[in-house]
């Protein structure tokens, strides 16, 4: 019988929550990765390996891996380093497909492993792209918080993938990372920009599994939809309580249904009015519904980060999100109602979900 496995990256290690097919009762295990800050943990189905990108203030950045669903762990940073004066302060985001694993880092770069995470090599720094003179300026190096915050593979094309550079924008490669193209047309920016095609603050991009041309984007300023795989973007913010947020998830079987968690855009960046809610569109952003059944509606100042929301692939998909105050909420009915399945974890950076045998 298959099981549902949540992979939860936190400020104090990786946790795993398992459930049977009904996704109502959860068993929590962890912390793993020796309590290191884990920024993203994923499950790679071909080998059945869990990978976790972690960065310790003391011991640097590594990618942890577990071949047996968390029973044993090892780690490596072999090859995750620049050979020039660029400083590598953090590994951020993982993507696994086509027999490889990639991890993004700050200062901006992508490293790749083709031996299951034992060794890594530099794939690209997006050198020469507009804006790269800024992120390659030593004066702007971390802790300036510029990095590649997200990677997204094309499941059908090994050479095609996308990367988000913080504060710069979305880029696509169609040749395995050799060259890149900015994909930010139509986005909004409420600040001066030095280049026509970059200077946008892309927080999260998700792509419909049933229509590869359909993407949704949570931006620093607004929600946006693309119907041509990122070629152009149309704003769909109207109807949402704020234009700001980090997390987003797309329905696995319906190209028009998509979820976001709007946050106050100020310093706090928590759910508005202390009332927790997930917002759903079922018409590609023409209208939005507030969903709060099962979510706290008083004194709930919850934040959810970029990788904090996930969706499984069941016929009736389950949705999940984790907060920066350590709660995990799950929905087994396509996001219509929610239950708190973990309450006291460390601050959560990421939630991913896998169906495992």
């Amino acid at each position: 019988m298959s099981r549902t496995l949540l992979l939860i990256g936190t400020r104090k290690g990786c946790f795993l929550a398992g459930s049977d097919e009904d996704r109502r009762s959860w068993e929590l295990r962890g912390p793993f990765c020796e309590g290191w800050p884990v920024y993203h943990a994923i499950f790679e189905p071909e080998s059945g390996t869990i990978f976790a990108a972690a960065a310790s203030e003391w011991h640097g950045s590594v990618v942890w891996r577990s071949p047996d669903l968390g029973e044993t762990w090892s780690h490596s940073s072999e090859g995750i380093a620049y050979d020039d004066d660029r400083k590598l302060s953090k590994v951020s985001n993982l993507a696994a497909a086509h027999g490889r694993v990639r991890v993004s880092v700050e200062a901006p770069g992508i490293f790749e492993s083709r031996d299951g995470g034992e060794t890594w090599s530099l794939l690209s720094t997006l050198a020469g792209q507009p804006g790269s003179e800024s992120w390659d300026d030593p004066a702007n190096q971390p802790p300036g918080h510029l990095g590649i915050s997200a990677l997204m593979d094309d499941p059908d094309d090994a050479d095609r993938s996308w990367a988000i550079v913080q504060g710069i924008g979305l880029f696509e490669t169609a040749d395995g990372g050799a060259t890149w193209t900015p994909r930010n047309r139509g986005l909004r920016a409420d600040w001066p920009r030095e280049h026509e095609e970059v200077g946008y603050c892309v927080h999260k991009v998700v792509r419909s599994p049933v229509d590869g041309d359909r993407m949704f984007q949570q931006n620093h300023v607004g929600m946006h939809r693309s119907d041509d795989a990122g070629g152009t973007w149309t704003e769909i913010t109207e109807g949402l309580p704020t234009e700001f947020g980090f997390a987003a998830a797309v329905h696995p079987h319906d190209r028009d249904t998509f979820f976001v968690i709007p946050l106050d855009p100020g310093h706090g960046r928590t759910m508005p009015d202390g009332k927790a809610a997930v917002w759903r569109t079922q018409d590609a952003g023409s209208s939005w519904q507030r969903i709060d059944e099962g979510l706290p509606q008083q004194d709930a100042h919850l934040g959810v980060l970029r990788e904090g929301m996930a969706v499984d692939t069941c016929d009736v998909p389950g949705f999940y999100f984790g907060t920066s105050t350590g709660q995990v909420f799950a929905s087994a009915d396509e996001g219509s109602s929610w239950a708190e399945i973990a309450s006291y974890l460390p601050a959560i950076s990421s939630v991913e979900v896998a169906i495992v045998d």
């Binding site: 203030e57 003391w58 011991h59 640097g60 490596s76």
Partner: protein, 87 residues
């Protein structure tokens, strides 16, 4: 043989790495080389490219703050500390 004391955070990262061990090396850098030979990958946990000791790793030789070039002798005590960055 210099006496080397390692931080609590390091030992779980490598199989059978003790908190305290003896090394025969002319410098701190040489001591870390010896550790790397026995526990591959360990150098990266203490040093960053340069090479230099990581920012929040402090090394003391006989109670004096040291760097990679600090010499060791047979009577040296080397303390490697995971400093600050807690909480």
């Amino acid at each position: 043989m210099a006496e080397l004391h390692l931080p609590r955070t390091l030992a779980p990262l490598f199989p059978d790495l003790p908190r305290r061990l003896e090394v025969d090396a002319p410098t701190v850098d040489g001591a870390i080389d010896e550790l790397e030979t026995r526990w591959p990958g360990l150098r990266d946990r203490l040093c960053e490219p340069g090479p230099a000791i990581r920012r929040h790793i402090h090394v003391y030789v006989d109670r004096e703050r040291a760097d990679l070039s600090t010499p060791l002798n047979a009577e040296s005590r080397v303390d490697v500390i995971a400093a600050i960055s807690g909480g």
